[in-house]
């Protein structure tokens, strides 16, 4: 029972990150009706950008020293006499990394947003109004282009990247059971959930969000109502690539950076279809369910089994409910 709770919570934390990645796929689909098979590789670029700006740039000879490790006098003072592994020391370590984490995040966000814009303008827009097959295969082609260029640009082995939050171990008791977590994982989950909620609220309440929904509803009517549909498209891609950048940074701190990060996108794609392509709620639930199932599979069956959990889950759900848990049925006319 106690183990179950621990693995369940681990699963929820993984699920939150899945949800953060999935939100990018859903946003692009809602606005443009394109399912982005290459989203995992956008995330990989986000991770590499984070690595560049948080590790490579501060290490460069021309970078100021405080960027690499920020140690004001008061911090050195506080650090004195602290025992090993104390929570305060972990927080201070994190603060020392603060400048480069911020730089890394900012760099990753900006660069990935530009990348998303570039993809939208050069590749997706010429295909506006083409068949779904063409659009999907275009993103499939994009997979190879992105993964090849990442290997070309970042040839060096990726090393340790700083975590986004103090990585202090947290222990607490829940229903009479000790739960053990890492602070960074918890913070990642909070970041992911906050961004997810913010995007859902944005789509629901702001003007640009309404424009996205209107475009999703009916493209030509949205056009005639004065909504600039191409602008909505770019906005959706920027949204997807920026959330992807944050997800990439989080994944980089959790699992390290490698070209295999892109494969993550496929399992998230399975999650998105399981939840229903155009439903934020469904995707959120599916992400959490898959996260927990993966953790349980890892616990009971071993690590390799966790990898295929999303695929099995999506197959089962699609066979029973072809449009996912909460997806709207597509109505086709002959």
């Amino acid at each position: 029972m106690g183990q179950l709770l621990q693995y369940g919570i681990n699963g929820l934390m993984a699920g939150a990150i899945y949800a953060l990645i999935a939100v990018g796929i859903v946003s692009v689909f809602k606005a443009t009706r394109v399912v982005n098979f290459a989203h995992g590789y956008l995330i990989m670029f986000g991770a590499y950008f984070y690595f560049t700006f948080a590790v490579l740039v501060p290490q460069a000879a021309w970078a100021p020293e405080w960027l690499q490790s920020w140690r004001p006098d008061w911090m050195i003072e506080m650090r004195e006499g602290l025992p090993m592994f104390s929570p305060l020391a972990a927080v201070l370590d994190w603060l020392a990394n603060g400048p480069r984490i911020l730089l890394g995040l900012a760099g990753a966000l900006i660069c990935n947003a530009l990348l998303g814009l570039l993809i939208e303008r050069t590749l997706m827009r010429p295909l506006m109004g083409q068949s779904v097959f063409a659009m999907i295969m275009l993103t499939v082609g994009l997979i190879s282009i992105l993964s090849g260029s990442a290997q070309l640009i970042w040839t060096s082995d990726a090393e340790f990247v700083p975590a986004l939050a103090p990585n202090t171990p947290i222990r607490f008791e829940l229903f009479g059971q000790m739960i053990f977590l890492f602070g960074a994982d918890l913070a990642n989950m909070v970041i992911a959930l906050v961004i997810f909620a913010a995007i859902v609220a944005m789509v629901r309440y702001t003007k640009s969000g309404v424009a996205i929904r209107a475009t999703a509803e009916d493209q030509s009517t949205a056009y005639s109502m004065g909504i600039s549909v191409p602008k909505v498209f770019s906005r959706a891609w920027v949204l997807a690539s920026t959330t992807g950048a944050i997800a990439g940074a989080i994944l980089a701190t959790r699992n390290g950076i490698s070209p295999a990060l892109g494969l993550f996108g496929f399992s998230v794609l399975a999650i998105v279809l399981m939840g229903g392509l155009d439903s934020y709620l469904g995707v959120f639930l599916a992400a959490m369910i898959v996260g927990v199932l993966e953790a349980l599979a890892q616990w009971q069956l071993g690590g390799e089994w966790a990898e295929i959990v999303p695929y099995v889950a999506v197959l089962l759900v699609i066979l029973i409910r072809p449009h996912g848990l909460f997806g709207t049925r597509e109505i086709e006319r002959i």
Partner: protein, 356 residues
Amino acid sequence: MITGNLKSSYATDEQVLNNRWKRLFLWLCIAGLGLIAAFGNNYIILIACQMGIMLIAVTGVNVVIGYTGLMSLGHAAFLAIGAYAVVIFHNAAGAIIPESLLTLAAIPFAVLVSAIAGVIVGLPSLRVKGLYLAVATLSANFIVLFLIEESFSAPWTGGVNGINTPTPNLLGWEMDTRREQFVLIATLAVLGLLAAQNLFRTRVGRAFIAIRDRDYSAEILGISLYRYKLISFAISAAYCGLAGALFAYFYARILPEQFELHLSLMLVAAIIVGGMGRTMGPVFGVIIIVMVPELIKVVFGALAGGGAELAMIRAPIQEIAFGALIVGFLLFEPFGITQIVDRGLRALNRWPFARG
């Protein structure tokens, strides 16, 4: 300039290759393959064998994507099933069946197993289509590979480390050189292409095309969607199973990682480049998809002359070129090379009265 297509008997109307240019082309192709088998050097034979294996698989993918309009991103799984079926058959039945008949039995066995797997993987196609089907087949690809790699199947499949494959033996003719295997591969590839060309003159093939063009209308016309979608998956899986069987015979060892998603994408890329729903599409597509990385390799080899630094960036460049091929053809020539060839032939045909 052809102004009509005169047929004076039903027999001529029913021919697979319905004019003499097509028949001439076929004989020229067979002669060309014969020349390669007789005089090609080892490198040419190697590339030609790879192309032949790919061609059979892509023909199968063309049946399901190009003709039936069902999107599949998981056909590498069927190659894997075919390849492993051959190896397992050889290991299991080697004691019972005499060696000279083993290959003749193993290839149909692999094709059959793949076709059955195709029906199972095709089941989601009854409920979903388009994108959902693409993800369902992609999932199937991951799951099949997982099952091959897992420890419970490792005694038969060798798990992650792969397994050594047998050499084919046709009625006592042991094909232990690449050149002999090329004869087998080329024969099967040509037969497979002709069978595909024939398929679309039959009731089944026309039903596929009707489903591709509009599935609801096809159903109203009395075509059973369930039946024909599953037949389509079975046929294409059978082609891929044959390709997988030849793959196993051709290479000395097979590994699960050879059948990963990348191979599935390569198969789909080949028909996009070549042209979907055309018999010659797979041929052109496979030539491009196999030749472009080879050309890059040759160019880099000439540039670097063994330099390690250039060799390191070769793999990413090949990958980018592969992606650029897909993107480029989708953007600029969505119907693939067959379209370009058609345009050229039409211009030739109408010359000097019109161009194109």
